[in-house]
């Protein structure tokens, strides 16, 4: 039965992927640019939802891996002229390796200390980049060659988002989900069931970090120039977090709903940037107070309530 649901997810994802693949042939440049942003944010939000919603690790380290992906991608492109698929694979590896390297220190910390630890990691990497002239220092690096056209980058972002969504479908629909939820609900009881909580957390952290690093790489190449304050900026972390909370933390469709909502809101209020930030903040506060399950959780509740009312 569970495999049925997994193949159902796969079917929907494949259909959406094929449909969206052909978007550049009919969509305007503006629509393509928005879609590109949706794909990048979707990858970040899915990864954060895996860590925080599913495994229960509240991470503020998204920016560390966005920045890591950006710098690794520029290094590979500028020094080796590497093609984008190679760049993405190396960035994914780099993200996973960094996650594995810092996990002995981070997983020693539980709860809020883990969260602060991930925040410190982003700050540390940012300071490191600012102070290392090899990596361009505070002024950053430019891409030596012209970036590929938007349509091609859009396909890359779409592919990364597909990989992220597939990974999440596998985590949510197979027996892996039972293990992940056990670790989130009660680590000690899970260990007593033979689950190795450290390995589960490390695997999720490495997977999320690999996905975030790939998104960071595509995003940086699209920009054509990176500098530490942007690449390792706290804004990446806040964006991913607020999108998932608005969409519905822990829900399968939460990241997608949150990303679409926030990106559309941003476009509607594009001429009033201050109002955009303020309104997002107010929405966040109102949702946390009245609908902690976010948009998806709210609809799920309304739906079950109405079905309950209609049944005798």
């Amino acid at each position: 039965m569970r495999l049925h649901r997994l193949s159902g997810d796969m079917g929907i994802l494949a259909g959406a992927f094929v449909l969206l693949w052909f978007a550049p042939s009919f969509a305007s440049d503006y629509a393509l640019q928005i879609s590109f942003r949706v794909m990048i944010y979707l990858t970040l939000a899915e990864s954060w939802n895996l860590l925080t919603g599913s495994v229960g690790l509240v991470s503020l380290g998204t920016a560390s891996f966005v920045g890591l992906g950006s710098y690794v991608a520029f290094g590979l492109a500028n020094h080796f002229g590497a093609p984008i698929p190679v760049i993405l694979v190396v960035c994914a590896l780099a993200g996973a390796v960094l996650a594995a390297l810092v996990s002995p220190a981070l997983f020693r910390l539980r709860g809020v200390y883990f969260t602060v630890g991930t925040l410190a990691l982003a700050a540390l990497l940012q300071l490191l980049m600012v102070n290392l002239p090899t990596f361009g220092g505070a002024s950053g690096i430019f891409l030596k060659h012209d970036p590929p056209p938007l349509a091609s980058l859009y396909h890359d972002a779409l592919s990364v988002a597909l990989v992220a969504s597939l990974a999440m479908a596998i985590c949510a629909r197979t027996r892996i989900s039972v293990i992940i939820r056990a670790v989130r609900d009660d680590e000690d009881a899970a260990a007593q069931m033979g689950v190795r909580p450290y390995r589960v957390k490390l695997a999720a952290f490495a997977l999320a970090s690999a996905l975030i690093a790939m998104a960071g790489a595509v995003q940086a190449i699209n920009l054509g120039a990176i500098e530490p304050y942007g690449a390792f900026g706290l804004q990446w972390t806040i964006d991913a977090l607020s999108m998932v909370i608005i969409g519905g933390i822990g829900w399968r469709l939460g990241p997608l709903a949150g990303v679409l909502f926030v990106v559309m809101l941003g476009e509607m209020l594009a001429n009033y940037p201050e109002a955009h930030i303020a309104i997002t903040g107010v929405i966040l506060i109102v949702l946390i107070r009245f609908a902690p399950g976010g948009i998806v959780g709210m609809f799920a509740r309304l739906f079950t309530r109405s079905t309950r009312l209609s049944s005798p």
Binding site: L3, D185, A191, Q192, R196
Partner: protein, 518 residues
């Protein structure tokens, strides 16, 4: 049992220290496949610590645990589970948001990630049938009542296909008929390849399931042998009933430190609230039909009790009978679900704890609850904050007179004291509020006989000075000697009540404690 074969689980010289406290002191244990062993002993004897160390949740300070010859003493809990040790938690810890079936899947898929879905499902159905959970397989664990949660604990441990199964108080909080079901379940899961340890206060379970038992007392193995012999043993009866301590230590000459100093009754009056002068006054404490519990576990099922000024009441009962719950209900730490609670005529049911303390009820809590960061003096002064400095100092002097050792240690940290001194501090702190009634919850638990005598002398002095006392005790003899009236709690109701002399001779008292009444 084949004694010549190597034991499946072998525990040698196991020690667990928490700071200066030794919870488990050089315990040895051997388990053979196909046997069920009972572990009994008073609260705080170290039973759950022993389970925790075998299961891997608690790291031993010294000693070795070998499973089938392999030393597993330093392995984390997950590796022990994989090596074949399944345990249950005393307070069930299911994954609340998962269904019952998914709870079992955790164990199945962590042990065998690639097991086929079909075999896994039929194994689950078999386990659910065995534990009587098949009809709730799709229900979230959160919706299960306590008994079913305990069964889920057992089912989940069995899903590991363990070679050693550790059942930690799976019978606590269950009523008689539920215990019968539990015994049937344990007998059904026992087979020739598994060794089972049952830690239990419900001795009926031990008697029905365990061929052999060991008794833990103060972290040490007191005795081990066939269960029937163990339960008939005088020493075991005295660990539970406390008769040995009182009889042996009464004639012993008290040590210098413990000698009660001559007292001026005037100083004690600093600690005892003046009696109300009304001619026909209501009882100081009155309970009618009080029911209370924790979530699914109903502990008190209709308690009636009257305490008049100047009386000393003893409340006895086996572990899990509801004694501490009764104390917590009176002092407002938990709210009764039914019944009336009056303090000096005022309705006090559902009022917060500090209100009830304001009505003159002090609670000397089980486990002492000393503030570790405060000195002995500050621990005492905390309880007398609403009075002026001079009055507080007078009360402090009166407490020091009752327990001179506290004056000597006044500047030390509260938890640097020995267990007995900490208990004196807890009693002194309860008195600092100058209460009208003090509830003493298990003041003798975990203390050496000589210290218990010293504490009971202090309680006798307080009673003689006119204090109203409610004493909750497992140590029957000492409580009977002090009380004017005795109530025996059994399964949340008073099974026995009356004059201490009559109760002492009542064979039902022993039955209630040891459980032969079944």
């Amino acid at each position: 049992m084949n004694a010549a074969a190597a034991p499946l689980l072998e525990v040698t010289g196991l020690v667990k220290r928490y700071g200066g406290v030794v919870a488990i002191d050089h315990v040895d244990l051997q388990l053979w496949a196909g046997t069920i062993t009972g572990v009994i002993g008073p609260n705080g004897a170290g039973k759950s610590t022993l389970i925790g160390m075998i299961g891997g949740a608690v790291t031993p300070s010294a000693g070795h645990i070998r499973l089938g010859g392999r030393d597993i003493s330093r392995l984390p809990a997950s590796e022990r589970a994989r090596a074949g040790i399944g345990r249950t938690y005393q307070i069930p810890r299911p994954f609340l948001d998962m269904t019952v079936a998914e709870n079992l899947e955790v164990a199945q898929y962590s042990m065998a990630p690639l097991i086929g879905a079909g075999p896994a499902r039929s194994a689950r159905i078999e386990l659910l049938q065995l534990t009587g959970l098949l009809d709730v397989a799709g229900v979230p664990a959160r919706a299960l009542p306590l008994l079913k949660r305990k069964r889920l604990e057992v089912a989940r441990a069995l899903a590991l296909k363990p070679r050693v199964l550790l059942l930690d108080e799976v019978g606590a909080g269950l009523i008689d008929s539920e215990i019968t079901e539990l015994i049937t379940l344990i007998q059904a899961v026992a087979d020739a390849s598994v060794a089972i340890i049952i830690v239990e206060h419900v001795l009926r379970v031990v008697r029905a399931c365990c061929a052999r038992s060991m008794v833990l007392n103060f972290g040490k193995k007191l005795i081990e042998g066939p269960t029937a012999e163990i339960l008939a043993h005088d020493e075991v009866a005295s660990v539970y009933l406390g008769t040995g301590g009182a009889r042996q230590s009464a004639p012993a000459a008290p040590k210098d430190e413990a000698a009660p100093p001559p007292r001026d009754p005037g100083s004690l009056s600093q600690l005892i609230a003046p009696r109300s002068s009304a001619a026909s006054r209501p009882p100081l404490l009155e309970l009618q039909g009080i029911c209370a519990g924790y979530g699914q576990a109903r502990v008190l099922k209709g308690i009636d009790l009257q305490v008049h000024e100047g009386e000393a009441i003893a409340i006895l009962g086996a572990n899990g009978a509801g004694k501490t719950t009764l104390a917590r209900t009176i002092t407002g730490a938990i709210n009764p679900t039914a019944g009336t609670l009056r303090i000096a005529g005022n309705d006090a049911a559902g009022r917060p704890a500090h209100d009830i303390a304001g009505l003159g009820i002090a609670h000397c809590m089980e486990g002492r609850r000393i503030f570790p960061t405060l000195s002995v003096r500050d621990n005492l002064l905390v309880a007398a904050r609403r009075v002026d400095r001079a009055t507080a100092q007078q009360r402090l002097a009166a407490v020091y007179e009752l327990f001179p050792i506290l004056a000597e240690r006044a500047a030390q940290g509260g938890t640097s004291l020995s267990g007995g001194q900490q208990q004196m501090l807890a009693i002194g702190r309860a008195l600092m509020a100058r209460p009208r009634l003090v509830i003493f919850d298990e003041v003798s638990l975990g203390l050496a006989p000589i210290i218990m005598d010293r504490l009971y002398e202090a309680l006798a002095t307080l009673k003689a000075a006119g204090m109203t006392l409610v004493i909750i005790e497992q140590d029957v003899d000492r409580a009977l000697a002090l009380a004017d009236k005795v109530y025996v709690l059994e399964h949340g109701i008073f099974g026995l009540a009356g004059d201490p002399r009559d109760i002492a001779d009542d064979p039902r008292l022993r039955h209630i404690y040891i459980g032969t009444a079944d």
